[in-house]
């Protein structure tokens, strides 16, 4: 696990939403009626917004690794 040396932050993968089903539903509703291309464009915007919200390059790098890992493309 990479750690941000300044802040000590690492990627949290434990569940944080009190109701994960509702959070998932919110994301599903965001893409309701979109084509696959439009959904990919939505996701890209969401990634940038959320990445900025996190504001920690080490954590972001860890998230990128975790995502690519499950694609079999680390």
């Amino acid at each position: 696990m990479k750690e941000n040396l300044k802040t000590g932050a690492t990627l949290t993968t434990a569940s944080r939403f009190p109701d994960p089903d509702r959070a998932f539903r919110l994301l599903i509703e965001a893409r309701r009626g979109l084509s696959a291309e439009e959904a990919a464009a939505l996701d890209a915007r969401l990634v940038l917004l959320l990445a900025n919200h996190i504001g920690d390059e080490a954590v972001l790098a860890e998230a990128v690794h975790a995502a690519r890992e499950t694609l079999g493309r680390e």
Binding site: A14, F24, S35, A66, T70
Partner: protein, 532 residues
């Protein structure tokens, strides 16, 4: 395919010959699990009830199979809970698979000390037969088969039904009508009521098969399994070597074609890996998440599928229906006996609306996950599944159906808000847990058996003479019940001197760390809807 499980005799009622419609306190329409429960609940409270059912048989098809702990506790009060529990397949564990691998396992009731298991699986017609047997044993319950309601005059202080029978039509009046006539509710149609909500495109094949298999008594759910690529699948054990199978079909599948045994059988062979089974029952359905905006219309009260319909993954149909009528029974009985104001009935609508919305929310969210509506939605769903193998947060998002749990009424006008700070235990409006006790006479029992038919006061120590009349005291302490495993102390955070006022439907009305008689009287008054 399955034969008729039980049939009953139409008998002509003297009411059919009356020139002026005979008036009954309560008529229940529909002898399914919900209607029968409603009638038994009221009859046991001393209210005479007539049930009308348009058929004279049960057992054509399996339908509901999962009955929850809360429902079994209600059946226990109706005198058939233990028999059904013992006849059913008890289960609390499930597994969720994706492709070849297992994603996770869960346990819905990891703690001991409850009389009833988290769930039993049992065929709906077995439940109906047990309830019919109980109904027929009650002298004030009049069960009329082959009585089809074809018309209603819904007045301000009563309703008059027109009923079709083999001997012709007759009319019957009632103070209240409880419509438990199912998802297609003819009564909804007769009153011209909308049933709005969402109908999903995806179709599901549902089959009961008979085979001897060595799968455990667990709920197994697959996303995109090798035997059914791209779809989802569910396997559930029932008694008598019957297994329930659900298979997702494309939205475009032709239901009539898919239902044919020559098309169903190969799908199930691929799933089970063998052909040693027989088909008992097959049906095809679409998910529907619908509800009436209001459950009470004049003197007609809707309950169960007639009031709200959910998708089946989650066992929220029959279970929420029985909870509807468990909520309704004591209220309606109190109104009819003059012990509560008629306004108490409005809280059936508000409390069960809260429950219906909770059930519909779960059902809708499960449906979104199980059957994504587009490639864009499937992409997000598949991403959650892919991350779930490694990451806890994504595992928590994997939704193969959230199984029925009774709703805690958070905003009920019947609840007395806590005046003190409680660290644990069921809050006002919440359903109570069970616990193991020993009576003063040395008999082992469960809390759920000690509460009596009305309100109960679960108290640790305290003065029994201070408990208002009509409230059953359940006193934990030296000369009362013994809390054998400390479950009352733990699950209720019940310290010496504290008490819970418990409603007849097993929900908390109020709780006090220190109490005096006027506190209990005030909470009871509030829980009965204010002044009578």
């Amino acid at each position: 395919m399955h034969a008729v499980y039980a049939s009953f005799k139409y008998r002509k009622s003297p009411d059919q010959a009356a020139t002026v419609p005979v008036r009954r306190p309560v008529i229940v329409i529909g002898a399914g699990p919900v209607g029968l429960s409603a009638a038994i609940d009221l009859a046991q409270r001393g209210i005479p009830v007539v049930i009308l059912d348009d058929n004279d048989r049960i057992g054509e098809g399996s339908r509901a199979i999962c009955f929850s702990k809360k429902t079994l506790e209600a059946f226990d009060k109706y005198g058939c809970g233990e028999g059904l529990r013992d006849a059913g397949v008890s289960w609390s564990r499930g597994r969720v698979f994706q492709r070849e691998g297992e994603l996770y396992a869960f346990d819905l009731l990891p703690e001991a000390g409850h009389k009833m298991p988290a769930f039993i699986n049992i065929q709906q017609f077995v439940v109906e037969k047990a309830l019919v047997d109980r109904a027929e044993a009650l002298g004030n319950l009049d069960l009329r088969w082959k009585n089809r309601v074809i018309g209603i005059e819904n007045g301000a202080d009563g309703a008059v039904l027109t009923i079709e029978t083999p001997d012709g039509d007759y009319r019957l009046a009632a103070d209240y009508v409880i419509a438990c006539d199912g998802a297609r509710s003819p009564m909804r149609g007769m009153l011209g009521l909308d049933f709005p909500g969402e109908i999903f495109e995806e179709q599901f094949l549902i089959a009961d098969v008979k085979m001897t298999g060595d799968y455990p008594a667990e709920r197994w759910f697959w996303f995109d399994p090798p035997f059914h690529p791209g779809g989802s699948a569910l396997l559930h054990k029932q008694p008598d070597d019957i297994w329930r199978i659900d298979l997702q079909l494309p939205a475009t599948a032709d239901a009539e074609v898919e239902k044919r045994p020559e098309n169903v059988t190969p799908r199930i062979e691929r799933m089970l890996g063998h052909a040693n089974f027989t088909l008992e029952w097959v049906s095809i359905y679409r998910f529907r998440c619908l509800r009436l905006e209001q459950f009470i219309h004049g003197r007609v009260i809707f309950a169960g599928d007639a009031a709200h319909q959910v998708s089946p993954f989650g066992a929220r149909g029959a279970n929420s229906g029985v909870q509807d009528v468990e909520n309704l029974g004591w209220k309606l009985a109190a109104i009819l006996k003059g012990e509560a104001p008629a306004g108490l009935l409005a809280t059936y609508d508000s409390e069960r609306s809260e429950a219906a919305d909770e059930n519909l929310g779960h059902s809708t969210r499960s449906t979104d996950f199980i059957a994504p509506q587009s490639p864009a939605e499937r992409g997000l769903r598949d991403a959650a599944l892919a991350l779930a193998r490694k990451h806890d947060f994504a595992k928590r998002m994997v939704n193969s159906g959230r199984l029925s749990a009774p709703t805690a009424y958070r905003v009920s006008p019947l609840s007395t808000p806590d005046a003190e700070r409680w660290e644990a235990g069921p809050a006002p409006g919440a359903p109570i847990p069970d616990a193991r006790l020993r009576s003063a006479e040395g008999r082992d029992c469960f809390l759920s058996e000690c509460l009596g038919p009305g309100f109960a006061l679960l108290m640790r120590g305290g003065e029994p003479a201070e408990v208002p009349p009509g409230v059953t005291p359940v006193r934990i302490g030296a000369d009362g019940y013994f809390d054998r495993f400390g479950e009352i102390a733990g699950r209720f955070a019940l310290e010496p001197g504290s008490a819970y006022l418990i409603r007849p439907d097993g929900h908390v009305a109020a709780r006090f760390m220190r109490w005096k008689r006027p506190d209990i009287e005030a909470a009871l008054h509030k829980a009965l809807g204010g002044a009578a």
